[in-house]
Symmetry: C2
Amino acid sequence: MSSQNSADLLVESLRRATGEANPSLTDSVIPSLLRGIGRTAAALRTAHNVEKAGSENVFGDAQLNVDVLAEQFFREELGACPAVVAASSEEDPVEVSMQSDSIDQEADVYAVAFDPLDGSSIIGPNWSVGSILGIWDGRSALHQDPRKQIAAVLGVYGPRTTAIIAVCVPGREDAAVCIEVGITDATGSCDIIRSDVRLAEGSKTRYFAPANLRAASEDARYMGLVTRYIAERYTLRYSGGLVPDVVHALVKGHGVYLSPVTSGSKAKLRRAFELLPVALIVECAGGQAIDPANGFRILGTPLRDLNETAGLVCGTSEEVERVKAALLG
Amino acid sequence: MSSQNSADLLVESLRRATGEANPSLTDSVIPSLLRGIGRTAAALRTAHNVEKAGSENVFGDAQLNVDVLAEQFFREELGACPAVVAASSEEDPVEVSMQSDSIDQEADVYAVAFDPLDGSSIIGPNWSVGSILGIWDGRSALHQDPRKQIAAVLGVYGPRTTAIIAVCVPGREDAAVCIEVGITDATGSCDIIRSDVRLAEGSKTRYFAPANLRAASEDARYMGLVTRYIAERYTLRYSGGLVPDVVHALVKGHGVYLSPVTSGSKAKLRRAFELLPVALIVECAGGQAIDPANGFRILGTPLRDLNETAGLVCGTSEEVERVKAALLG
């Protein structure tokens, strides 16, 4: 199977989710994001040298350089997509207009909110890290019905370069897709690895990823949950990178990721650049993503400010229900 | 700085540890292992396709193919080193003679014991995985003074390809080195990232990696340790891959990795292919590596059988002492 054919196959799969209303999304915007991921992966591979070029100190500046490069690649790729009319990122949390005002169409235009490189604390030890991208139907991500975020992409930089792509269009929820692809080079060429990423119930091996674990020292309910996972012989997998941690559950078909918030351990996940895209992916895979402070769906609340933060519980639906009962019940 | 110069710099650094007695180790054997790591990294990058070539099922066969490829690369590289007279691996745990009997010298010949690709459970979700290699002075790893394992290499396959190399020659312990390199391609070209990898005490951020955590459900002392780490606000990082977990501590300069053994959770780390090389690396970085069953140094007991297994506690020296007191005191 050639990469060209695989790319066509991907576009075809994505179009099944959108119908005919969003041709630029499937044919141009998502492919441009996969190119951004491919270019970021290529830059990361040689980040030993980036580090040296940047500074003499051991890793602070190297990370910075790679972050800046990833941001630049995604901005360039989005800038070359006429249908992308606005973009904002974790590195630059202001929604910037990407195109001249002459593009006055209202349909098939998009705003993208993204975290170019998530997981800076684990770049040094060479653990997998990721990119998070949410695509909004229309001119802005702000003050919208969250269902207008109709697509999201997680890029995973590890031994391979992979991505999870979800598309869910209002009115076509039954046709929503969640697909894993392997990206083969910096042009974003890809092969489909899993055409139907799905969080299943009743999995034989059960996984848990307890983020912000220090919060358990202040919250007996969180500590109780963790000890219960251990007593029930769940398998621990926690890298500390939001993307690899969530993707682990998606690929294994089971898992729960917990990042509760306490008075001493504040919410630090950004709704625009992290929580909303991750929540769309998890829901499209049949799971749930909720705010542990109140149990509400992450996708249930409009984005009012690009700097909003919250906690997160997501993964296999029955596991999320169980966490909700334990933390809030 | 060109890669050639970097390679020379690496050999020079390694020679400071060996003096003049082991020229083939520094100039040929270790470079051949770095080539094996570079070739394995290149194969992993395209493992999406390896999977397809092998089988239609989703990941079982892909892993198998990549494991087999890594094994083959290291065997080929070692076979091209006249000084390597024996090799054994996790995939094929028999010590096989690599050279004809005509090589009858007794000095500057080596036996290599290795795990070509460790971490198969996390290859699917695209998390970092690794290779583990121990190099023994002489014709065999079996029934030797463990100090005859004079070098070890951990290869890390992540967004980048990196390796930790330790060399410690009996009588020259003060000159032992532990170096982190970035491998830039399949020829094994590399740049030195850290010339002195060191587990420091008094680190501001303290990390713990609780492996075999299910054992805590049967062992109140292990459960007590885990809850104490949480209460004392240690940072959890646990990928489930021995190489990335140990390398995380080495690169951050602090950490403790625990894999206790209970009657219900048996020892599964192989002494020949995992524990002895990891222990040499950790000790060369100033840390400790002990058997949690008895508190003895992993490096204190000769290898009698390639299939021997044990648990492991390793990392920053004061943390290992604390675990020893908690589990055995």
